[in-house]
Point group: C3
Chain length 478, copies 3
């Protein structure tokens, strides 16, 4: 009688009258850490082991039995052995029937096996309820009470009751369970701790390519050309002068590439006359990593700011200025003051500062804890309105920097224009298209399409297509 | 028997044996997105529609019925139609009796209707349990698994059991439910997604006013006066020189305005001899947006730092320095080194750097995720002690900047003092009052009042007054 | 019948049919704030008071009774009186039997009493279930709906059912309960709100010592020596020049001290041939405050950056440069341009910028909300790989700064080497040891030890020792 109600209502299980017992198969490092933490939180722990005598490192208070004996003592069994050794579980099918098996395993490589470990376990022991959990937690995070460690535990499983019980345990251990749905999510959960910044790969490689390309472009113009034409050694420019050309170019290009997929998507929607058709894969992927592109661009912009601010400290700059002054003083000649040059110089600098300031604001609002405190409308306002303003300011900063020299033939070296001219191409394209798109007549059509209107009604769409439309939403917002 | 207990205890409902069925009225964009997400999380979905045949865009697995048919299949019905079309629900009163209706609607304007949509729904269908939820979530956030989107779902309702069930659904969808109490909170929840930074309005308009005022003040002194008196064209100063005067003034004034309401409140409490009387509304509102005032001030301070650091790069500055050097070199005259000027210059810069550094620290601790990891005492220490230290350093920075010129008649132009002299007024007032308030004799009385002591005991206070006292607490802390 | 099930299953208690009644003992400030918030969230409140008539400030809707009368009306009683007045509860033992007592008290000092207030309460009223909660929340945080206030409520108690009910109340009030286990955790929870940055103490005192020591070291070399040797007044150097030497030294030393305990731990493990022995306490503590050490180092590095960037604005620097130019112009002598000096100057600056940039990245990823979104592998990558790269760049920056003068006898003043030479000692030691440790042969042994291999198998370890091993994990990662 008592037992029945316990099965039915997991929330009353760990009452003080009787401690809940959890069984752990395997006495490895993580199993022991988990056991210790659970003992501290008031659970009883029994270990199941092939060789119950040998385990000398187990925490105080835990008992060790054979696998089948241990399994009999608890309804919930944590499988803390490697997937390769799951085989022995087939012999325990009888005793594991109806029990909850918690798969905590990880692999060494992404997509190492055709099916996830948890699904494999569910096939091996068909009568048990398999729940995937704890694989994203390190043994260290389990032990340390640090509030800022990653405490999210992804949980999935086909049996909701079993999943609820595991999530209760997670919560009792002071961690945050995140329900990821059915066992089909296990593959993704198992891949998660093996990932190394997957969304950053494309921005990283792209920016590496941009940097290398523009670095050599500038080396040709600023180092090789003076050497060939005058034998001048300007190699020292590679430390600061050239990076300080490459970084702003990379920043501006990447920032423009944040907004380019949005306008491409809008053109596609206008052309197709519907939002209910999925975008090409490359566009979908591009749109999903816009935040990362933007943050990499912000990184380059910050480096550009630092490299610019140290200019007056550099030996080369000090030497040049001193020598120019001495030459003029010796010749007793004074430059007249040019108000237009002062205007150009000051407005170029001011535009850059304001653009960078807004850029940093965008970066701060993309911090998870900040974006959690704003509502959707505010987030959209910051990321879209302020974002475009940033792009406009930074593009104007680059244009004013060019000033009068812009596209003048004298700035061509070996037929190569200045690097910043190339950097302006993508931002200008984005801004021009965006300007066309916000013209009232076009904006009206686009808004109607995004609210669900279709030029030619399309017949049934299946669920998968529907899912993909979500990215259009993002697009309509950002 | 089994079934009855299932009805009674929502946490065991979504067990694997039987999938919970949720009904959605309306097949619009958001209804379909919600349906798809719920299907992915293991729910069964039935749509209720006026015209069950027409809906071709619905996700796979969902069925469509007439409204009454669909409502019969589930205990929980999500109303995904606009408030204007709620009328048809009156005909379904019978079938909706005792069921949970989830109002997910939003309006187009703040306070568009006299009562909230959810309360209106509750009046229309008196027998049902209305719960407000999901209105703060965008269709896109529902679909994307992004961890950093805004995942908070505000939930309110009069029936706790119905509310619990909705909160369980929210949690299962991977979102974070926040219980906001009874249906009276619905109006606020419906206004929430329509707000655009409401707490930032006052700081924004105030700082805009300060900027415009001081900008024209400086234009008069630095551009118009030289033009009138000598025909000199100094318009280029409007790009950097004048903003770099306006920004620090705005920053210092706003920072002082963060601490001014606190000292006003203390004076009011001392005068009244009690903390149990609510403050004037303007003071309450002012105290609630101090964080925003402080962050705007930090923004201006950051701009001031950037504008200051670019000084040596500017053409005007380089030209001036070069010419001055040439003139002296030609005249073969050298300035003697003045140790006191070096002291003034260096200490003014050092005070500014330290003040800015502390200011940034204050800004970082006001990030939500950082302030969550400190306890109340630490938060108070940072925001109050470090805050006043920042104010003192920044005020001293401005004073030393003035140096010997401070208030000297020669710096008056058209009877207008330098702008920084005006900027010092509020900070100095705040610091002087604060200094008086921390004198032991006054501090003792104030502390007693804030611990509940009253000079003249006041009779009964109702709940609303009590609520307003809360801001006094803040005041006693910050 | 109805009542029994209510007792058994707390989650169905606050259904709309009957409001849950909560009793509060004591009518002080915090008790009243709590009552008001609970009334707003739909609870019924009864106050228990020694003198039921006198309480005039209570919120509307709450009733006041004598202690025993009030206690009879509710199963859950919040004790909002000071520990010193707990005595009267012994007389109520009968009526409190089986009820849940919530201890919300705080002390004035850390470890003020031998046992925690909650444990003391449990001894006084043996028949009741004592739960510790709410002590970390301020009355103000209770009232304000601000999303970013500290909303975490630590809860502990021996009776899980009672604890669950209290955690439900916490959740209903819109706060976040964190289960901290049994009542043994009460002491720590009671100390928590009294702490003032405990993990920051060691880094703070260490950095204060470093600053003071290097400040006086530099004063001796740069102020006293010139005064003694030439009567030159260089006191103004104490405002910027000397801090700008002290801050980078402190930053580099602290950064190296972040990585030193890791290599010490590795050496210890290699020497002992096992990871299953706890480290000395000082090493454990040192490893736990590495994050704080790193952030303090980042603070000094930021100050160093600001102090460096203002160099060209300083009067002293401008005067020196102008005079040097004038002297050369008068002598009609020009310095030849030295490419190697340009290389040294530029690469020193570039290394510093890149090091600082990575350092800031490290700081950003240590923000709680950012570190929550990365998995363990990514966190390790950033904090370990990028961390060492930062250390290498900053050390190289300092070495190149020294340039040719490095260790040359002419830079000795009173046998004292330049301060930066001393600053390089610890970083170089760390980098050399780390280089040895990553040599394949040693790395292989270390990895085996960290995976659990032991050179000499050790017999049983008790739980406490096991707990301490956790820090080894950290070490193996960072």
């Amino acid at each position: 009688m008592e037992k029945t109600s316990t099965d039915a209502f997991p929330f009353t299980m760990n009452s003080s009258e009787k401690q809940e017992t959890v069984c752990i198969f395997g006495t490895g490092d993580f199993g022991r850490s988990l056991a210790l933490k659970m003992l501290q939180c008031g659970y009883s722990i029994v270990f199941g082991s092939r060789n119950p005598q040998k385990s000398s490192l187990l925490p105080n208070g835990a008992e060790v039995f054979s696998y089948s004996e241990a399994a009999r003592k608890s309804d919930i069994i944590i499988i803390a052995v490697h997937r390769e050794h799951y085989g022995f579980l087939t012999e325990l099918t009888e005793v594991l029937k109806g029990k909850t098996l918690v798969d905590i395993s990880n692999n060494l490589k992404i997509n190492q096996y055709p099916e996830s470990n948890a699904e494999y376990l569910a096939q091996l022991v068909p009568g048990a309820h398999v729940v995937k959990a704890f694989n994203t937690i390190s043994a260290w995070a389990l032990q340390s009470g640090a509030l800022d460690a990653n405490r999210q535990v992804f949980v999935c499983g086909n049996d909701s009751k079993a999943k609820q019980r595991v999530m209760d345990i997670v919560r009792t251990l002071g961690l945050t369970p995140l329900d990821q749905g059915s066992l089909m999510a296990a593959k993704e959960i198992e891949n998660y701790p093996l990932q190394l910044f997957p969304m950053w790969k494309f921005p990283f490689y792209l920016s590496a390519f941009l940097c290398v390309f523009f670095f050599f472009y500038c080396v040709v113009r600023d180092v090789i050309y003076p050497y060939v034409n005058g034998g001048k050694d300007s190699t020292f420019r590679m430390a600061i002068s050239i990076p300080n050309r490459v970084f702003p170019i990379a920043a501006l290009t990447l920032l423009a590439l944040v907004y380019l997929p949005g306008v491409i998507a809008a053109i596609l929607q206008l052309y197709r006359g519907t939002k209910y058709r999925r975008f090409p894969d490359w566009l979908d992927h591009w749109m999903l990593c816009r935040k990362q592109l933007g943050l990499v661009a912000l990184g380059f912009a910050s480096l550009h700011v630092l490299y610019t601010l140290v200019i007056p400290i550099r030996y080369y700059v000090r030497w040049t200025m001193k020598n120019r002054t001495i030459t003029q003083a010796t010749a007793k000649r004074e430059d007249p003051f040019s108000t237009s040059t002062a205007w150009l110089s000051d407005s170029y600098v001011a535009l850059g500062i304001l653009g960078f300031f807004l850029f940093v604001l965008l970066g701060i609002t993309s911090l998870p804890s900040v974006s959690n405190t704003v509502n959707w409308r505010e987030f959209r306002f910051v990321q879209s309105k302020l974002g475009y303003l940033t792009l406009i300011l930074c593009t104007a900063h680059t244009m004013v920097y060019g000033g009068k020299r812009f596209l003048s033939p004298s700035s061509l070296i070996w037929y190569l224009p200045s690097a910043y001219v190339i950097a302006l191409i993508i931002p200008c394209i984005v801004l021009v298209i965006k300007f066309v798109l916000v013209l009232p007549c076009i904006d009206r059509t686009l808004t109607r399409i995004r609210q669900g209107w279709e030029r030619n009604a399309k017949p049934t769409l299946n669920g998968e297509r529907y899912l993909k439309q979500s990215s259009v939403h993002l697009d309509s917002e950002l």
